[in-house]
């Protein structure tokens, strides 16, 4: 029982990342009709927002400590971050320690801006172009973004640890006779994703802005006939989708150290998630994200891999094939979307 719940948690955890990226992809697709291969790169940029913030917070001045020597035998230069100098060692250390949660505040405006610039500067010109062109241009953009990050941060992963207070292990379910220890940060991640998804849906459901956007997703022409500047709203939606991917990236940092190709790693899977969920369906994307995450977690168990060797490597694709063959438009897809 414990093991099953653990794997469900693991699945929710993986699923959170898939769902958030897929949600953004679907938003962009549903509003703008654009297949965005650079969405993984947005996730990566989010993660590197937090790397950058932690680098900024760790900006240091050097003092020479003659008692210690560096690897060449010269006197060691000791680095002290400015924040520790300004706010005192303890407060400074605490700020550095909490750099990942702080990065959320840092990342939101950046991601909105990145999304806005991307949409206005590039994607806008590709609304009417064939999907193949959209794929090529966004894929090119993804490579460029990725290479820029690699140029400045290198290819190796860079740790962005969770705050000490949130990096331990929580024991849960004691009152139900269960004994499950699970990393606190992963629970935070699940909760955060849930909030973000809930927030996105609430925004679309209950605000006028959201209602206009949803109407526009369903029938762009009609909404435009009503004299609403739907394009501007869609641009903002692109920014929001970018921000969702970015925040998913920021929060993912402590789970797995960010590296420059993490976006590509997620890209293909999140496309599979979107399609399994059904192109253009927001609940479908979220549902499929969690579903595939959980399936993947269970397929990785020893029981599964000994029964069918290699199942852990192919499960997602296998499920995708089965779903698409039995439900032509994915789990919750709408008719006529992306079928031409």
């Amino acid at each position: 029982m414990d093991a099953i719940i653990l794997q469900i948690l693991n699945g929710l955890d993986k699923g959170s990342a898939y769902a958030l990226i897929a949600l953004g992809l679907t938003l962009i697709f549903g509003t703008l009709g654009v297949v965005n291969f650079a969405h993984g790169a947005l996730f990566m940029i989010g993660a590197f927002c937090s790397v950058t913030l932690s680098k900024l917070l760790n900006l240091s001045f050097e003092t020479v400590d003659p008692t210690q020597k560096d690897f060449l035998g010269n006197p060691l230069k000791v680095k002290t971050p400015y924040v520790q100098e300004w706010f005192g060692p303890e407060v400074g250390a605490a700020i550095i320690d909490w750099s990942v949660p702080l990065a959320i505040l840092f990342a939101i405006p950046i991601m909105l801006a990145v999304g806005y610039v991307m949409e206005r500067g590039l994607i806008k010109h590709f609304y009417k172009r064939p999907h193949a062109d959209q794929i090529l241009v966004t894929f090119g953009l993804a490579i460029v973004l990725q290479e820029i990050v690699k140029f400045y941060f290198g290819a190796n992963p860079i740790q962005t640890p969770a705050p000490d207070a949130l990096s331990g292990v929580a024991t849960i379910g004691g009152s139900f006779g269960l004994n499950i220890s699970y990393p606190v940060w992963r629970l935070v991640y699940i909760a955060f994703s849930g909030l973000l998804i809930f927030g996105a849906f609430a925004f679309l459901q209950f605000t006028t802005f959201g209602m206009v956007v949803r109407a526009g997703m369903a029938d762009r022409e009609t909404v435009q006939l009503l004299g609403i500047d739907i394009d501007r709203r869609f641009t903002i939606m692109f920014g929001i989708a970018a921000a969702i991917a970015g925040l998913a990236g920021v929060m993912y940092g402590p789970i797995n150290a960010p590296n420059y190709h993490m976006g590509m790693d997620f890209l293909v899977l999140s496309f599979v998630v979107v399609v399994v969920g059904g192109m253009g369906s927001l609940p479908g994307a979220v549902l499929a994200g969690f579903l595939l995450g959980i399936l993947e977690a269970f397929a990785s168990t020893t029981w599964a891999t000994t029964t069918i060797p290699g199942i852990n490597q192919i499960i997602i694709y296998l499920v995708a094939i089965i779903v698409l063959l039995t439900r032509p438009r994915g789990l919750m897809g709408k008719k006529g979307v992306m079928e031409d």
Binding site: L141, V144, G310, L325, E339
Partner: protein, 400 residues
């Protein structure tokens, strides 16, 4: 001649001349000059040009004509490679059985996958093909290389070992892939003044096969079958209500393009007898998509150009390192030299991906029809036609 219209025949002749004279054309710079770095006329890269040309030509028969965007074509390339190396292991190093088997096996594999994936269209089809290819890759990389049943030799790649049976191998034959005794590595180097040109047996074999493939592609494009494939892309609804069954047409196109891919895979093994699983990864499938779109999907020669450009970047730009840059710009004053190198350095050597990404973006932004459109524009500019006039003819002329 050859049952082709004049324009097609001219195109075929141009490609013929280009491929046959490639060792000269691709080596325009003297060996010792600083620009020799840009020479591409060495066997491996020339082979890659034509082999990936075949891959792209085949992919274009599916994507360019029917509009079905397969994201899993690398699987057929990989299967073809494995099939060919297995022939080397079992029969011996003669490339003929290997290449034939690679076409057959990839054709069958494509038939199997096509029957399933073509039940869907649009992005659903793309994702289905992607899923099959990724599964093939994952299995080839690990599960199918376990010691008990080693079909692919996993990470290392399938290769010929000394204790393989090689039933028809004899001591008189080269210990490398050969065509009835002519080693694929046999290279004649010709020194002409400061230039050196290399004529490689493997390249010429692949080039001849590519010409045949290109010729067949032209025939397919111009055939009733090709017309039906374009009908699939244009309007499937009308096609069905015109009494045409689109499924066997697309399936045939899928299988043909799978066989092209398998042939390309077989040739890759034929010129270099090692088949790695990475050939089947989604990035490899993506590469052929990019080649085709970059060159101009639906055009005859575009995909070949796209393949050439991407392979050129991968092999030539990646080799420009700092010391090469210093050689080039050594004539500049020191400060300026460093400055220029700092500017260029991020785009070459280890930054070649960045340049490639930028090229993708630039081409697709400014040349929606791919490189071919660029060529057409230049051609029109040279002929001095009026722009409006030209735009009209471009839109009405059938894809070329």
């Amino acid at each position: 001649m050859f049952g082709l219209k004049n324009t097609d025949l001219r195109l075929l002749l141009i490609v013929f001349v280009l491929t046959m004279a490639a060792p000269f054309i691709l080596n325009p710079f003297p060996t010792e000059s600083g620009l020799a770095q840009f020479n591409a006329g060495y066997p491996d890269l020339m082979q890659k040009f034509v082999i990936f040309g075949i891959f792209a030509i085949g992919f274009n028969i599916l994507f360019g004509l029917t509009g079905y965007l397969s994201f899993g074509h690398a699987a057929f390339l990989g299967v073809g490679s494995y099939a060919c190396v297995w022939m080397f292991k079992l029969l011996g190093y003669n490339v003929v059985p290997g290449i034939l088997l690679s076409i057959v096996v990839s054709g069958l594999f494509a038939l199997l996958i096509g029957v399933i994936t073509l039940r869907r269209s649009g992005i659903y089809f793309s994702i289905l093909t992607l899923a099959f290819a990724q599964m093939s890759f994952a299995l080839a990389y690990s599960v199918l290389s376990n010691p008990k049943f080693n079909l692919t030799n996993g990470e290392t790649g399938l290769q010929v070992y000394a204790d393989d049976p090689q039933w028809f191998h004899s001591d008189r034959l080269p210990d490398l892939p050969h065509l009835f005794g002519l080693s694929m590595r046999a290279t004649h180097k010709m020194q002409l003044g400061a230039w050196e040109f290399q004529f490689n047996a493997g390249y010429y074999m692949c080039a001849v096969i590519m010409l045949v493939c290109f010729y067949l592609a032209i025939r397919i494009f111009r055939s009733p079958f090709g017309l039906m494939l374009r009908a699939v892309k244009s309007n499937q609804q009308r096609m069905n209500y015109t009494g045409l069954n689109s499924r066997p047409y697309t399936l045939a196109a899928f299988v043909i393009s799978g066989m092209y891919a398998g042939l390309a895979g077989g040739l890759l093994s034929a010129v270099d007898p090692l088949a790695g699983a990475e050939r089947m990864q989604w990035t490899a499938s993506g590469e052929v998509v990019l080649m085709t779109i970059l060159g101009g999907a639906g055009t005859l020669i575009g995909p070949v150009l796209g393949a050439g450009l991407i392979k050129y970047f991968e092999n030539i730009f990646s080799k420009i390192n700092e010391s090469v840059l210093h050689q080039w710009f050594g004539f500049l004053p020191d400060g300026l030299e460093d400055f220029v190198i700092t500017l260029i350095y991020p785009f070459v050597g280890k930054g070649w991906h960045l340049t490639l990404g930028l090229i993708f973006m630039l081409v697709v932004i400014f040349l929606p029809g791919g490189l071919i459109e660029g060529g057409q524009r230049i051609g029109r500019a040279l002929r001095g036609k009026k722009a409006s006039d030209a735009g009209k003819s471009a839109s009405t002329e059938p894809a070329e």
